[in-house]
Amino acid sequence: MARAVPNSRKAINTAVAGTLGFIIFFPILWILILSFKTEGDAIKAPLQVLFSTGWTTESFGAVQERSDYFKHFTNSVVLALGSTILGLLVAVPAAWAMAFVPAKHTKNVLMWMLSTKMLPPVGVLVPIYLIFRDVGLLDTRTGLVIVLMLMNLPIIVWMLYTYFREIPGEILEAARMDGASLREEVIYVLTPMAIPGIASTVLLNIILAWNEAFWTLNLTASNAAPLTAFIASYSSPEGLFYAKLSAASVMAIAPILIMGWFSQKQLVRGLTFGAVK
């Protein structure tokens, strides 16, 4: 039986949660406000910024005039989706094998995969740069899709492995007894049962790939540059471009924010999948 919670307690909890939510959301709100201000107003004290009357969309126009937003946006979409699909193609069979046919060193392999995430990316920048130069992958979407896939692969494998472990092996066994091949077992039995987990893995991977700013800045010039490079072009230690930087940020984060908003239920469901037995 659920415990009764007094109304006063509920009100306090709601107020605390609301305040925390507002604090977390505040930077995005502030970026949004600054993006509709002139550069002159954007540098004023916070209260003056709020109450200045000059609301304008000129920064958005200036940003689009100077930078090709749609080219960067297309690159971001291709990189995020490409690396996710490629990652799933590798990770689903890997996670299946580790979850249902574990070997003696499966745990060690999983730990090793995770440990690669602890390596600072800058440590391997020069070797990867040289390889990319020699095989002609610098400033190409193909090259970045491969790198982003490899960057996120440990997380995809780990997440899928965790979800697959929750699926009773007996069901797969039953499918095999009914004559299902390995391919059919994975595609028609395992995958539909793990859809919430796969969906949340896909969403998380898209978000990670969308926001990745080290490799996307270092391995691109103009052809494959995604929205992270688009934002970076408005940052400057000598020159005040707060309104334009904010407008560029809003344009860059809006797609992923909207996607996250509509898929949050799926994301939370997937992330808590198997938490309660």
Partner: protein
């Protein structure tokens, strides 16, 4: 189209005709500042005249530095034109990472290399060979509020004053109750941030980074006096949280009327003088950056310049662009299209002989004097084995400068004493210089 525009177009066409046998697609990496934005905006003039096209990669200064360094050191060939500073040009040129540019006059007979100020050309050369051409150059000077000086009964200096006199002025002007701070100075850590101010300050107090044997001198009495002065000045008369303020933050504060004085880049004058962006445009004037024990190295020298990486496969077309973007004709074009106050400052004598520019930019003469007074080859009171005023032109300086900047920012924020900051800095510098083989 008026006659001037037609002539400019024809000039660009003639510049181009020599090297543009086939149209090339060039990738240019540059920083994000007002002058570069104007260059990007006007570049279609050159593209139309030559048939070449430009792909722009605009990045924040530090990101650009890391990105371009990786590419150029690995012979990556991602860029055909790069924006580099006075720090990188001689170092990279000496390593043969950049294409020599002494032949620009062959590409554009009207280029007039001699018109570029000699100290600027020298700052971008290695062993007498020019490796980058200046887009704009800057020194540092003191911005001050004429109305506040008048109200406080302070006479504006006509000669260079000492830092002691400067502090006395600042103390009189400091009025935090009315939202005005005596002085705003850079506090944010970084060799291009707080150390840009601290370096010339240390020079003024008689300090130096290294002695003639490359032994670091950061724990010397001169450094101790200078950094104690800096910390006291900013803590007593600066805005709260000054250790987080860099050029941009101080520029915003000054433009908003919150600072009585500010020692910073001469290139910010165009912004402070623009009434659309600054509320103190009609109440600001300038005087030289102060001195103390010596006048050597008291105003910094910096130039943003364009260079061509040796790995570029389109070097001829790239040089062609350089010969256009840093020419007298280009400066004319900016003056005509964007207004003379926006013309790239500090590079060409002809700019400072142009009446249109002089009347649009009242700060022009002070800027010119500051740039000409800055001598990177003679930056300190005592002899040194390096060149550079606010930096030391050796590859190891970035790391050392950043570390020292962090230590001094921590002292300014009250997280450690000045003595601790200098001891840590000295230890670090000795370790790095030993590792690099300068000292045994």
């Amino acid at each position: 189209m008026n006659l001037k525009s037609a002539l400019l177009g024809a000039t660009a066409l003639s510049i181009a005709s020599a090297g543009a046998a086939t149209a090339a697609e060039l990738t240019i990496a540059t920083v994000n500042n007002s002058d570069m934005i104007i260059m990007q905006k006007l570049s279609p003039v050159w593209e139309e005249a030559t048939g070449h096209t430009l792909n722009w990669v605009v990045l924040e200064e530090n990101t650009l530095r890391q990105r371009v360094t990786t590419d150029i050191a690995t012979n990556g060939g991602s860029f055909d034109i790069i924006t580099i500073g006075a720090y990188e040009a001689p170092i990279w040129g000496a390593r043969d990472w950049l294409v020599a540019l002494d032949d620009l006059t062959e590409i554009n007979p009207d280029y007039d290399l001699e018109d570029i100020y000699e100290p600027v050309r020298n700052g971008l050369s290695a062993d007498g060979t020019l490796f980058a051409v200046p887009f704009y150059a800057e020194s540092s000077f003191t911005f001050y509020r004429t109305d506040l000086f008048e109200a406080a009964g302070i006479e504006a200096p006509t000669e260079q004053i000492t830092y002691t006199q400067f502090e006395e002025m600042v103390a009189q002007l400091h009025d935090p109750d009315n939202g005005v701070f005596g002085t705003c100075q850079r506090g944010k850590a970084g060799w291009g941030e707080n150390m840009a101010f601290v370096g010339p300050l240390v020079n003024a107090f008689g300090g130096r980074w290294f002695d003639m044997d490359w032994q670091p001198q950061i724990d010397s009495e001169e450094w101790r006096t200078a950094i104690n002065y800096y910390v006291d000045l900013v803590q007593n008369y600066g805005p709260p949280g000054a250790s987080s303020n860099g050029h941009n933050e101080n520029r915003a504060l000054f433009a908003d009327g919150r600072c009585a004085t500010w020692v910073d880049a001469t290139s910010a004058a165009g912004y402070i003088f623009n009434p659309n962006e600054s509320s103190v445009a009609d109440r600001t004037d300038f005087f030289q950056a102060p001195y103390q024990e010596t006048k050597n190295g008291t105003g910094w020298f910096w130039a943003w310049a364009l260079g061509v990486p040796a790995s570029s496969t389109n070097a001829d077309a790239a040089k062609d662009f350089l010969a256009w973007a840093t020419s007298k004709e280009y400066i004319e074009l900016v003056g005509e299209r964007e207004g003379w106050v926006a013309a790239p400052p500090g590079t060409r004598k002809s700019t400072y002989a142009n009446e249109a520019y002089l009347s649009a930019a009242p700060f022009a003469e002070t800027v010119e004097n500051s740039i000409l007074a800055a001598d990177p080859a003679n930056p300190t009171r005592d002899p040194v084995p390096y060149t550079g005023i606010q930096f030391v032109a050796i590859p190891e300086f970035q790391g050392i400068g950043n570390y020292v900047g962090q230590q001094i920012a921590a002292a300014l924020a009250g997280q450690q004493t000045v003595d601790q900051a200098l001891e840590n800095s000295q230890r670090f510098a000795v370790r790095e210089m030993t590792k690099a083989g300068y000292i045994q």
